[in-house]
């Protein structure tokens, strides 16, 4: 393709900014930008406009208008309906001018650093328990963060570490899960007004049930504990009703059949494989080199716990892969084995992020050993982990599901690097 006019160039730059260009198109754009100042100016303009749209959207919040989750026969009516809804919303806004935001839920449980962005763009960096909330966006910012939101009808949704969701309830509950993990215990919803959970790859319709959903950039996993959830895969519109004790994975691949399968027996052993890349990890991924294996180097992160001073952590984390249907269960005689290195001796805090086997946040469990040498291997019985960062805390109950292992130093940059994370159980091969 040759770019002969501004319109064509603008279109290609618009697609580049959306990461929707082929390698050849990116090369063509590169060569054009290298020699054409006007093309650079146009790209700068598109970047500026994108940022300005985000600013505008934050200053003029609206419920997300999308046809996702709406049966296809309704979709042709979306624009007139959206326009009508906009008129109604404008009228309601006008009538409510000056009144406080109406709360539709409250923060029932909060741990770690949880950020709330409400209507009008107001931001609360450390959300506290029992805060009444209107529609808005909640983000579990820190590794140990979790928040449970209770709707007026008693329905509960819980988000845990590194999750973000925009939530509204204007008679129909809608959750846009941008990323991460969400568990829900949903009371029966009105007929025709199911709770809708939107992810990047699927839409879930929920009338009243208990389930757990994990969403990544290209995959959504749904695990239903009670009742039935209807999942619609966005890539092709195919749907599946997922009954209790079943799970399903929706990806961006049309080739994969969308079908629910019965929950599998959990595995008891797992070993990270950092040689395959950085997927599911936090930290700077370093390839194998100079006799060292592939590893994760701790990166600094500023964390602001509620009512406490900000603290810098140097951390890495490794997620137990969830795209596969088998979960990793921790038993009392399980052990966590870690291999790593540091440039100076310092205490290392290790956090296990866990869920109930059937879904739902089960808490974070910690241990704080100090390695004796710079190159070390720690072999830690699971029974040593405690719910809080002291020996007095509650021990890890039998049978929880391990989701993520987080390893960090507090305040000090001790040059922490992690080569391998492993969970072992004596009864398994």
């Amino acid at each position: 393709m040759s770019m002969t006019d501004d319109a064509q160039l603008c279109e290609m730059l618009t697609r580049y900014v959306a990461s929707d260009c082929s390698t050849e198109e990116v090369q063509e754009l590169s060569s054009r930008l290298e020699r054409d100042a006007a093309a650079c100016e146009l790209l700068a303009e598109i970047l500026m406009q994108g940022a300005a749209v985000r600013e505008y959207a934050q200053a003029h919040p609206q419920p997300m208008v999308s046809a996702v989750g709406v049966p296809q026969r309704w979709q042709a009516w979306l624009w007139p309906l959206a326009a009508a809804a906009a008129v109604v919303l404008a009228a309601v806004n006008w009538m409510q001018n000056g009144r406080a935001e109406t709360s539709v839920m409250r923060a029932a449980e909060v741990s770690g650093s949880v950020r709330w962005t409400g209507q009008g763009g107001s931001v609360v960096d450390s959300l506290t328990k029992d805060t009444a909330l209107g529609g808005g966006t909640v983000e579990t910012v820190s590794d140990d963060a979790a928040v449970t939101l209770a709707f007026r009808d008693g329905s509960l949704i819980t988000l845990m570490a590194h999750s973000a969701a925009t939530i509204s309830d204007d008679g129909q509950k809608q959750v846009h899960l941008r990323e991460g993990n969400l568990s829900a215990d949903v009371k029966p919803q009105r007929s025709g007004r199911p709770m809708l959970i939107h992810t990047t790859t699927a839409v879930l319709e929920v009338l009243g049930t208990r389930f757990d959903v994990e969403s990544g950039a290209a995959t959504t996993r749904l695990n239903v504990d009670e009742g039935t959830v209807r999942m619609t895969r966005l890539v092709d519109g195919s749907t599946v009703d997922v009954p209790a004790e079943h799970q399903v994975v929706a990806s961006l691949s049309r080739a994969e059949k969308l079908g629910a399968v019965q929950r599998l027996t959990p595995t008891l052993n797992w070993r990270s494989d950092l040689s395959q890349g950085a997927k599911g990890t936090d930290g700077e991924w370093l390839p194998a080199e100079a006799g060292l294996p592939a590893r994760l180097k701790a990166l600094p992160k500023l964390v602001t716990p509620a009512k406490r001073e900000p603290v810098t952590l140097h951390h890495v984390s490794v997620e137990v892969p969830w795209e596969f249907l088998q979960t990793l269960q921790l038993k009392p005689d399980s052990r966590l084995r870690l291999r790593g290195r540091m440039t100076s001796i310092a205490p290392v805090e290790i956090m296990l992020n866990t869920k109930l086997l059937r879904g739902g946040f089960a808490g974070n469990y910690f241990v704080r050993p100090t390695p004796a040498t710079l190159n070390w291997e720690l072999d830690l019985p699971i029974t040593e982990f405690r719910k809080w960062r002291s020996d007095a805390g509650e021990a890890l109950p039998d049978g929880l599901q391990l989701r993520r292992v987080v390893i960090y130093t507090v305040g000090t940059d001790a040059g922490l690097e992690i080569e391998q994370v492993e969970v072992l159980h004596p009864a398994s091969p």
Partner: protein
């Protein structure tokens, strides 16, 4: 350089640094994460900076490199612009400087003048982060039509912004 001045310098330059990261990672959240990381690294290296110009030059390069690391980890290194193209864009962003803020302000009025449908498309693309294929499916249009519409909106907004700034200049 004092910690206070360092933080102020970088916060003032945030849109510029974030734009430099965004053009590489093309994800608003990831670009903000890059900025946060640049800020933390700058604080750690505070003693090495003697003036604002030095810290800004370092921040721009660091943001780009961190963005490239992010893309490399995702296995998408072949999908970003060449170093020379990024240099050329960087030079252009530098020239624009403070004028960019005036364009953002002018754009608010231009957004208001757009039809609701156009504003929604822009929101879905740039605020909600939806891309061509998803927008096409949601709006029941082809992907090509979506990008054509977005491209036309960018051009219309540019014209509107230029017009508003020209009016302000004349007033």
């Amino acid at each position: 350089m004092t910690e206070e001045l360092l933080v102020k310098t970088l916060l003032d330059a945030r849109p510029r640094v974030v734009a430099g990261a965004f053009v590489v990672v093309r994800d608003a959240h990831a670009a903000e994460d890059v900025f946060q990381e640049v800020l933390l690294r700058a604080l750690r290296m505070r003693e090495s900076f003697s003036d604002e110009g030095g810290v800004l030059a370092w921040a721009r390069v660091s943001a780009r490199n961190l963005g490239i690391d992010h893309v490399r980890r995702a296995g998408r290194l072949g999908e970003i612009l060449s170093e020379l193209a990024l240099d050329a864009l960087d030079a252009r962003l530098e020239e624009i400087g403070d004028a960019q803020r005036r364009r953002v302000e002018a754009m608010r009025g231009c957004m208001e003048k757009l039809p609701e449908e156009s504003r929604t498309l822009l929101r879905m693309r740039y605020d909600e982060g939806r891309k061509g294929e998803e927008l096409a499916r949601l709006l029941r249009r082809s992907e090509a039509a979506i990008y054509k519409a977005l491209s036309r909106l960018h051009q219309a907004l540019r014209k509107c912004i230029d017009g508003r700034l020209a009016e302000e200049g004349a007033a």
